[in-house]
Symmetry: C2
Subunit: 147 residues, 2 copies
């Protein structure tokens, strides 16, 4: 039940954008430096986030990326879905046909419960929630370095 670095890096990057939302777009370079993510890897994480409508980008000088919506409208389940795919721990939870006996398989029921539990957590957490938790933890922090 591991999460790849994609979701970890991606969430950190989005949190960074959420914190400085009013300051306009941030460059990928800034995000990469501040969040300790390899720049050329971060590019690849942005692609699905942009395609998924979570982030918008502006090219050219003074460009960068920013959240496409306000942070309280972005739930983590969407972020994780875009970066890692479904949260189903085994494929047949989403797609019963891959196992021929899935109709009567009780282990599949457990894996479904697992997916439901994970989604419940991720659906109930928005980027704004993270920003607020962070304010509570380090109210006087000036810049947000590596989380």
């Amino acid at each position: 039940m591991k999460l790849s670095t994609r979701a970890q890096y991606g969430t950190r990057a989005l949190l960074y954008l959420a914190v400085r939302q009013e300051k306009g777009p941030a460059t990928l370079k800034d995000i990469a430096r501040s969040q300790q993510i390899p720049l050329s890897y971060l590019e690849h994480l942005m692609t699905p986030l942009i395609a998924g409508g979570v982030v918008r980008s502006v090219r050219g000088p003074r460009g960068g990326v920013a959240l496409a919506r306000s942070s309280d409208k972005i739930k983590l389940d969407e972020v994780v879905q875009l970066l890692e795919g479904s949260s189903a721990p085994v494929e047949c939870v989403d797609n019963p046909n891959v196992c021929d006996r899935s109709r009567s398989c009780v282990t599949r029921d457990v894996w479904s419960d697992l997916k439901r539990a994970v989604d419940t957590v991720l659906e109930s957490t928005t980027l704004q929630d993270l920003v607020e938790r962070q304010k509570r933890k380090q109210p006087s922090e000036q810049e947000m370095y590596y989380i």
Copy 2:
């Protein structure tokens, strides 16, 4: 958030043992055939389960493996732990020192929530629960083939 085949195969194998618990040990060969698991792979799954005290084994003719305890005393979290390691989605949840800022990291808090949610499901499900769910689903099934 994927589960490897180890946990899937392992759980199926244990469920098989739970269903036929009173019949004494089953051979690995039987389990492998019935649950569609490569025999030589199944051997490797049994090792940690035996070491972890979930399964006991008997060598020699008429030998095999059986549950080491009654099925209602075996929770799935133990099984998954033995076969996959911790359910923590990122390492710093279990071991905060791997990230230097873990004290103030809010994304880590989310991953902790995730682990908690997963563990809650797995701790509240025993092999006996699975057996009962199965009886309810296919009360007249004679043998348990591939789940």
